[in-house]
Symmetry: C2
Subunit: 565 residues, 2 copies
């Protein structure tokens, strides 16, 4: 009876009853009858009186989803699915395989991987057995998977939910439960080929989503390390200096320099030397040439290695045709852990932070709130001020798998490079396209079946509609109809319009008995299609040809996302 329980769980009481008959019937049954009484539904089957004498009180709690989570439905769901489908196609094109890891991991797997942010990890209650936590990202589970299975190389993609007990900001798309959308290449390969393919995947993914005006800012961790060493930053100051540098995308050099000197305690001459480097950006070859011309920097081992990597990558990136999107930007710092080589993030003009006006509105709003609420809003404001809103990001991380595998294992060190699409932000960008939301449909129904007739002998053709529906379903055509014996004509058009079906198939009182139905294109206003009479046996082919012609051979996901082109 396990499977029974598994596949339809809305009658678990029954299972209890069944188990009881095998083990300790009376005890279980007693508990079961008690619990049943207290949860009996309002309207039970006949005879209601005997089976559930008490009507339950309305629930004593607010019906809502947990904080920071939401239901996805309707057109939002359609748009998000189209995004996932489009990105998945790109991932598959590059030979990606997908994996599905559990939504929770042993707590030990996650510990020590997220620094300060570990406090944002959701723990599962200790109900006996192992201590587990909800995954915080897809990267650590991926590294665990690679290490655990002794995998030497894999291209894997994973689109799934992750969990962070963060202060949610729903309007900005910052949720406690949200999707990540990752592609990673693990394995020891010819230097920079996989890195270049990852950048190509990034560009192809954005292009496929209909985003054209993007820039991929790239940098190399070893070059940054070399610059900081060369400029005289002490090792213990590298991280804080680096985080100041990373703000150059939203603050002028004068401010960043001030932060370095005043807040971060760097000598002014060190800051000035850094400034000479991190303001450099341009095409890959221009920046390489500049750096190589600097004999002092290029004699630094770390910088030299990074420059050589970028030089190696250049022809690969040219072969992939992605250099036009790339800006080699020495101010891009990204994280300072895990990453060991290429780092990058993509931005687009449309993903810029909100206008000052909306920020002001929010800030004045925040003033009305309690001190505690204000504090949280401050946190929000920070998140708003930093970052121009990258729409994807990634880089090379050669040591994470090794953290799991230890030093003894065969795959002690499996180098990895990956990309993560920022689906929440991409969703907002795409949803905002003019016309797109209006054109999205929550169903993909193509045909609405109607019956027209009248008079005393009119049956409403319900059975007839069902059998034509079946004909269409079996032919692979999405079809709906009103669950009503004798629906009125205007009601049927109303329902068809609400469904967004492009076509109606009409069963006329006179025509249907002769084996003829009418196929009519809907939603054409005054130029309404008068419809075509089609013999029933040709209906599936006729409708499929109509649908194909209407879609012009383009699948619905692509059609939706490329609306602007």
């Amino acid at each position: 009876m396990r499977s029974f329980n598994r596949i339809n769980s809305i009658r678990p009481y029954f299972e209890s009853g069944l188990k009881s008959s095998i083990t300790s019937a009376s005890k279980v049954l007693a508990a079961y009858q008690m619990s049943t009484e207290s949860t009996a539904p309002v309207e039970t089957a006949v005879p209601a009186k005997v089976r559930a004498p008490k009507a339950p009180a309305a629930p004593q709690f607010t019906l809502k989803t947990p904080k920071g989570t939401k239901d996805w439905a309707d057109k939002d769901m359609t748009i998000r699915s189209a995004i996932f489908e489009t990105i998945t196609k790109v991932f598959k094109r590059h030979g990606g395989v997908t994996i599905d890891t559990p939504v929770f991991e042993l707590r030990e797997i996650l510990s020590g991987k997220y620094g300060e942010d570990s406090k944002l990890i959701y723990n599962l209650e200790d109900q006996g057995g192992e201590l587990t936590s909800l995954r915080y990202d897809l990267t650590v589970p991926f590294a665990r998977f690679v290490a655990m299975n002794g995998i030497q190389n894999i291209k894997r993609y994973h689109i799934a939910k992750v969990y962070r007990r963060d202060q949610p900001a729903m309007t900005k798309g910052r949720m406690r439960e949200f999707y990540q959308c990752d592609f990673d290449i693990a394995g020891s390969y010819e230097n920079m080929v996989a890195d270049s393919e990852i950048l190509s995947i990034a560009a192809e993914g954005l292009t496929a989503l209909g985003i054209e005006d993007f820039t991929i800012k790239v940098n190399h961790r070893k070059i940054l390390d070399g610059i900081f060493q060369h400029c005289g930053v002490k090792e213990q100051d590298v991280r804080k200096v680096s985080s100041a540098v990373d703000k150059l995308d939203k603050a002028p050099w004068s401010e960043v320099k001030k932060e370095m000197v005043v807040e971060k305690g760097q000598p002014e001459e060190v800051a000035d030397r850094i400034g000479e480097y991190v303001l450099i950006k341009g095409t890959i070859s221009d920046v390489i040439n500049k750096l190589k011309a600097d004999s002092a920097l290029s004699s630094n081992a770390s910088a030299a290695q990074g420059i050589a990597d970028m030089e190696t990558a250049l022809p690969y990136l040219e072969a992939f045709g992605v250099t036009k999107h790339i800006s080699f930007d020495l101010s891009l710092a990204r994280g300072l852990d895990y990453y060991t080589g290429l780092i990058y993030e993509a931005v687009t003009a449309a993903s810029a932070p909100p206008e000052p006006s909306s920020k002001e509105a929010q800030s004045s709003n925040a003033n009305k709130k309690s001190k505690k609420a204000k504090k949280l809003d401050d946190d929000d404001d920070n998140s708003e001020n930093v970052g121009v809103g990258s729409i994807l990001a990634g880089g090379r991380y050669d040591n994470l798998v090794g953290m799991f595998a230890g030093t003894s294992k065969k795959n002690a060190s499996i180098p990895c490079v990956g990309v993560s699409f920022g689906v929440e932000r991409l969703f907002s960008l795409i949803k905002a396209r003019p016309g797109l939301y209006d054109n999205a449909r929550s169903t993909s129904t193509q045909v609405f079946l109607m019956a027209f007739g009248g008079g005393p002998t009119w049956t409403g053709f319900l059975n007839e509609r069902l059998s034509v529906a079946k004909l269409l379903w079996d032919g692979g055509v999405e079809a709906e109809f009103m669950y009503k014996t004798k629906p009125k004509t205007p009601k049927q058009f109303e329902a068809a319009e609400k469904s967004g079906c492009p076509f109606a198939v009409i069963l006329g009182q006179e025509e249907y008995p002769k084996g003829i139905v009418k196929v009519k294109e809907l939603g054409m206003g005054s130029d309404a299609d008068q419809g075509t009479d089609v013999p029933l046996e040709q209906l599936v082919d006729f409708v499929k040809a109509k649908i194909a012609a209407r879609n012009n051979g383009i699948d619905s996901a692509l059609q939706l996302l490329r609306l602007d082109n």
Copy 2:
């Protein structure tokens, strides 16, 4: 910097560092540097010494997924995806919309819904804020969604993971994290139309998965209620008698009767009267006729209502062409809560319980275990003895939404009917098909790019392979190549074979500079395709035509699942 963190989480330390610069820099940084030191990877970037002086110890815990969970990967993932894709197509054909609810719900939402099985619910730790639990099924979240949004009618499907802290039995597919795959129709409609469409969806789904030899056993809760009343079963005994009846699919009447009389304390004459009814099964019309001929039973209000429902459904089921799969079986009892009307489950010969031999093996194995382990195995054995393995199940539940909405709301009572495909069991059945697993591929790569050449001037054509790959990717063709400058020819064939690519595109040292590549079908043994020379500008079209011809217009999911036909 939120989005930054969101879309690529493998450098959270950095974010900490960044936050610190705004709030309390030194404190956070100190903690951050400490945590970094203790988790520093083995091989850091140059200069390793300065950045991560200590190599970490190998992890002190076993690398595994939590109990009752597993990673899905490789061909299993392909097969499961094909199942989901196929069922989704059927759901969409019926106008289904999909929703995505959070993986955890407020604990109050779930409480009082699962009776005894509530102990199997995973709770999240109380980390401040609301108390939440992982969802136990998709039905209660669906009812919450409908009630919360005041939805009057919806056809929704949802394919997602649910969680049960159950004793896992991995080999039997009983996991703590597993998928459910549900379609439900909510709304007040013409009686029995939605119920009939649900049965049609069940039949179409199984057929689409290549399962032909299935039977859908149907019954009606009101008929069962009527039978028990009519036979003199006391109200308080209905559940236990019903659970005995439900065993008739695996035990003879004599045993079930004995259980009723001896264990369940029913008078022998009551058991005999029940036996006259519950052994009845046959076509819907046969069983209706038998029941209607029984004037005593058919004068029972509950039974009469159920019989009338089935009579109403019959022409709809005939119109849908599903009566051939249906057995009206009065021994089907299913749960006794929630369900208020039609109930059903589908079985197939191939989903029968394991052979006795394997049970014996397991039982002797269990003897070697500790007492505690033995007890758990007993539990396993129970689950093995009960149920012949239904592959889908469902029914009508008219009161669940009302439990959330209370009596005051507009949608206090939204009747629902649904189907749940048993994907774990369907997966096992489908995976076991001869040849299917061998034919499954974990990637969908179509083309493996190779370069052939030699001699002192031979470069290996890496850049050239990259640009041809890009050509194919942009054309929508899945393509891979070896990440190696000068790969040896046998190595390339080996890699191509491993990838399962049906085609090779070969860049010859002489031919490629003339704009010609060779397209060769792979895996043809001694009848090897000698290949066709194709000009580069025609490559995409040529390859796409080759792929289309090979697939015969059938998509890969369908191809995989219908292998037996």
